[in-house]
Symmetry: C2
Subunit: 192 residues, 2 copies
């Protein structure tokens, strides 16, 4: 039997009080699609600093990067986190895995576009461009996120999955759609 | 004379009303350190859709990625943008260039840590962990940003440069420190 593909499960749910439970649910769902889910919190305990006594944050970084290098693909929860946009750690990891040439899939549990979610955006009467209260341009491409994120996924052949959910960071509907896409791409005979 | 190294200049200043001017100033500063600055807005006009009539956002994405692949290194303005953290596009590009194995340098023009900038963070009496108003964990490593960003730079040998500035998105003090580090790394005879 061939080795089952591993999928790195990135997202800000690691910051939830019940992060471990959410991670368990995500991994069970992966099993159902014939995939092994790699959840960052399974990466060793906070007391395990790679045996070198170095800073914990550096150890977590190294373990996450090692997990991504070992994974066959990544699925990214790009739901808004403390503001109108996605979690910085998740976004960094999307870029990293794309740079490593691994297949990436992404979902957001927020409805609407980045423009919809940007407070006090108004249209400049002269140029027609949208600007926020500080005068900063707001992208108006109908994307769920900054164009680099949406287009990375779209150019990879699987545009961002938009699922509206009651519990944005933990809901699994968007993940399930991504798992279906990932299984079609990664499993023997997959054609997606 | 050897080809001068090219440095991709990532940051949310592309959203400023005077973005082109800021870009020009950044590139002049690069020259002073013997480097060629590549600014995303020099990537072709908004009317240039790669000649294929496709969507503009996809064309911008492809041009930015091509610029990063061609660059010898990246310098990232990780100053907070519409919230406590860095701009998503910039963070994605940091991950991408790190994944591509290119040297990366980063600065933030905001003082303090991510924890300092997270509104209403309180310490959990039981566990000692910091949580925001939604109960989401706030990292407490003394980092300027999410640990993936800070540690990517620190593990690369050049920790994030913290410069306090009057005009966070456009100030060039942090960039100049990064240029000094980049020049030492990239120019012939460099030792950093």
């Amino acid at each position: 039997m061939p080795k089952r593909p591993c999928v790195y499960l990135a997202g800000p749910e690691v910051f939830l009080p019940d992060a471990a439970t959410v991670g368990r649910h995500k991994k069970i769902l992966c099993e159902r699609y014939g995939l092994i889910g790699l959840f960052p919190l399974d990466n060793g305990s906070d007391d395990d600093r790679d045996g070198n006594g170095g800073p914990l944050d550096r150890a977590i970084f190294r373990r996450n990067v090692a997990m991504m290098r070992c994974a066959d693909a990544g699925i990214f929860n790009l739901s808004p986190f403390r503001g109108p946009g996605a979690d910085a750690g998740t976004v960094f990891e999307l870029g990293l895995m794309h740079g490593l040439g691994k297949p990436v899939f992404g979902y957001t549990n927020a409805a609407g576009t980045l423009l919809d979610r940007t407070a006090d955006a108004t249209r400049d009467g002269e140029t027609g461009a949208w600007r926020d209260a500080d005068g900063l341009l707001v992208e108006d491409f109908g994307n769920a996120e900054n164009l680099m994120l949406d287009c990375c996924l779209a150019e990879s052949g699987t545009p961002i999955v938009r699922a509206d959910a009651d519990r944005p960071l933990a809901d699994l509907v968007g993940l399930e759609t991504c798992l279906r896409l990932a299984a079609a791409r990664l499993l023997v005979g997959g054609t997606a």
